[in-house]
Each structure stands twice: as structure tokens, then as C-alpha cells.
């Protein structure tokens, strides 16, 4: 239960990093413009579906109990997985790069870039 919960949380944290969370500063004043949750987009319960987890259990060779931490496991793979999925989806229309986080604005701007290039 605890392990599953940690992995669920880790996955969502990674999804947030890939699609939503950004500390944005105003270029002229240095003011943090995503300074509250009215602008800083945290993933929430309705952002993601529930997950079914699969395990590959390997004991750690460096301690007598064979135990290891798992809290960050979900957070490490999920940003890469999500960004690969975004690029896979947009590749067929010519998009080569989307900035993280892949917010609706960033995705649209990337698509516009290719549309403009295609029109030229």
C-alpha cells in the first residue's frame, strides 16, 4: 500500500513536471509570475486516471536486508514517458520539439511553428 501510494504520487509529480508545473519569472522585473496556485499549475486528483502498477522486484545487493527506496521511482520515468508520448503524437504533423512543460500554449505554439514553416 505505502509503496503503491508513493509510486502513484511519483508518477503524478512527473506528469505535472512534463505537462503543467513551471516557475515563470517576468523578464523585466524578476517578479515570480506563477507565485500562487492561481497560476502555478499543480497536478490534482482529476488530472490523471488511476494506475495499475506492475513490479520487477530485485533485492539490493549493498545491504543485508536487500531493501531500497522507491519513493522517486515514479517521478523519474514519467516526465520522459509523457514527453515522448507528446512528441510521438505531434511527430506526424512535423513537430520536432515541444518545450517542457507541454502546456496547451506550448503545444499550440509548436504546432503553429510547423504550420508557418509548411506554409512558407
Amino acid at each position: 500500500m505505502i509503496v503503491e501510494g508513493q509510486v502513484h504520487g511519483g508518477i503524478v509529480q512527473g506528469v505535472g513536471q512534463a505537462l503543467m508545473e513551471a516557475a515563470v519569472y517576468d523578464k523585466s522585473t524578476g517578479q515570480l509570475t506563477s507565485g500562487s496556485y492561481m497560476d502555478y499549475t499543480m497536478p490534482r486528483a482529476d488530472t490523471v486516471p488511476s494506475f495499475k502498477l506492475g513490479y520487477k522486484v530485485t533485492p539490493c545487493p549493498h545491504n543485508p536486508l536487500g531493501v531500497k527506496g522507491c519513493g522517486e521511482a515514479g517521478a523519474i520515468a514519467s516526465p520522459a514517458a509523457v514527453m515522448n508520448a507528446v512528441h510521438d503524437a505531434l511527430g506526424p504533423i512535423g513537430v520536432k520539439h515541444v518545450e517542457m512543460p507541454a502546456t496547451p500554449l506550448n503545444v499550440w505554439q509548436s504546432i503553429q511553428g510547423t504550420h508557418r514553416a509548411a506554409a512558407a
Binding site: D39, L105, Q112
Partner: protein, 265 residues
């Protein structure tokens, strides 16, 4: 927060009297906007007049062709009202998509419309349905109520008592929510009534506005195909970290087409 005197009147007449002659006094409905501004010391009212105890300001009535909603009616009550759902389902849908459950159970129609936040949802419904805003002194038609960024036709100490929405033949609201706050980044309310077709846009500009070109095209042919080539100029639209003016202009077209399709369902 700075110090202020707190009042909780039981009648509209008492509330109006408490606000009279005090330019620094503020009415409070749900407090969802007012209290955060007090907490951040962005406002320093002399008096806060809490309208929550005034029974005559809350409630929903169907009278002839109109649904009349009291100023103190909470978003959650509009969203779940059988009368609103059966007469103007698009309005119930809109109310049910404001913020989150906590906000919907505190925030009120009067407070939202009086505040005229550029990203608030209700102004789009008020303008598209050609509603009438009733205050303690007069009735104001939708088109002359919203004046600009956080600006309305309300005078000092004037209170919204109710808003009356004519029923629509067809209507729908489509919103692209700000991913963080859930306010409207762009929201488009499309309504076809006996008076014609209206398209009202919130979130995109400094205040709600109508799109005449779409209204004319939809009056001839009420289908999303009729507006697919209409482009909204990005000049003067809002721009922030979630959406550039160009992106908002694009979203107005997308949300308007989706709203027409939803209204035709």
C-alpha cells in the same frame, strides 16, 4: 488584513443604509474575491457589509419567459437547480464549471457579476442571453452593464439584487479553463433567442465582448460550419503565462464552434 467594522444586516434596506455615504465601505457576498484582497492588504475598506443574512437576495424563480436569480444565489445552487436545468441548461452547466466545489459553495452570482473579473464565467451568460441586472435602484440591460476591466455600471453603494435571464431556444457555453485557477482563459456563450443570435466571449479580453461577425453568420445558418472561417483579431486581447493574445484569439474560434455544436445537440 487591516481593521474594519463588520455588519450583518437582515434586510436589503438596512444594507443599503449601511453603505450609504461611505465610499470606503464594501459589500460582501461569498467573499471568494473580497477576502483574499483583504488578506493581502490590497484593499482597506472602512466597513464590510455581509449580505449573507438577507433572505430576499437568494433564490431562483421562473416567471413567464424568464429565470430570475437572486444576487446571493451560490454557483452550486444555480448548477443544481431543477428550474435552471430545465429552462436554461447552458446556465446550469456554466455555474457547475466555475472554479472548484469550495468556490461554488461560497461564490455568488451577484458577487461575480459585480466584480466583473475579465476571466469570470457569468458575464458571458449575462450578455449572450441579454439578461437584465436588477439593482436596489434600477434595471440595467446586459449590454450597458459591463464597462471594462473590473468595471461595471454600478454606482457607489449600489447592490445587485437579482439577474433575470430570458429562456433561449438554443444555448451552450464552452470554456477553456486556466489550468491552474480554472477561471476562463476563454469562454464563449452562444444563444439563439427570439431576439436573435448572440455570441459573448469572456476571458479573452479586458471585459466580456460580443462577436458581431459570428452573430450575423449564425443568424443565417446556426451551424459551426457557418463560423469556421471567422478569425478574431488578437489586438487588445489578454496575454499571460497561460496564453498569448494570439492563442486566445484562436481559442475564441474553437470554443465558439464547440458551443454551437453543443447548442445544436
Amino acid at each position: 488584513m487591516y481593521d474594519f467594522a463588520y455588519h450583518r444586516p437582515k434586510s436589503l434596506a438596512d444594507a443599503v443604509n449601511m453603505l450609504k455615504g461611505k465610499p470606503e465601505a464594501r459589500a460582501m457576498s461569498g467573499g471568494m474575491t473580497l477576502i483574499p484582497t483583504l488578506k493581502q492588504r490590497l484593499a482597506k475598506p472602512s466597513d464590510v457589509v455581509d449580505l449573507a443574512g438577507i433572505k430576499e437576495l437568494a433564490g431562483i424563480k421562473v416567471e413567464g419567459n424568464n429565470v430570475t436569480i437572486g444576487g446571493m444565489t451560490k454557483h452550486a445552487d444555480v448548477a443544481t437547480s431543477a428550474d435552471v436545468k430545465s429552462n436554461i441548461p447552458a446556465l446550469a452547466y456554466l455555474a457547475g464549471h466555475i472554479g472548484d466545489p469550495q468556490v461554488r459553495n461560497r461564490g455568488t452570482m451577484g458577487g461575480s457579476v459585480a466584480n466583473n473579473d475579465p476571466a469570470a464565467d457569468y458575464p458571458a451568460a449575462v450578455v449572450a442571453l441579454n439578461a437584465t441586472v436588477t439593482t436596489n435602484t434600477r434595471k440595467v440591460p446586459a449590454d450597458s452593464f459591463f464597462k471594462g476591466l473590473f468595471e461595471t455600471a454600478l454606482g457607489e453603494g449600489e447592490l445587485i439584487t437579482s439577474i433575470s435571464f430570458p429562456k433561449a431556444e438554443k444555448a451552450a457555453y464552452m470554456k477553456f479553463p486556466n489550468p491552474a485557477s480554472r477561471y476562463a482563459m476563454v469562454g464563449v456563450f452562444v444563444a439563439k433567442t427570439a431576439g436573435g443570435v448572440r455570441v459573448a466571449v469572456t476571458g479573452a479580453g479586458p471585459s466580456v465582448f460580443r462577436v458581431k461577425a459570428m452573430e450575423d453568420a449564425l443568424a443565417k445558418n446556426f451551424s459551426s460550419a457557418a463560423i469556421k472561417d471567422i478569425k478574431i483579431p488578437a489586438d487588445g486581447l489578454n496575454s499571460d503565462i497561460h496564453g498569448s493574445a494570439e492563442y486566445r484569439a484562436h481559442l475564441v474560434g474553437v470554443m465558439a464552434r464547440r458551443a454551437v455544436d453543443a447548442a445544436n445537440k
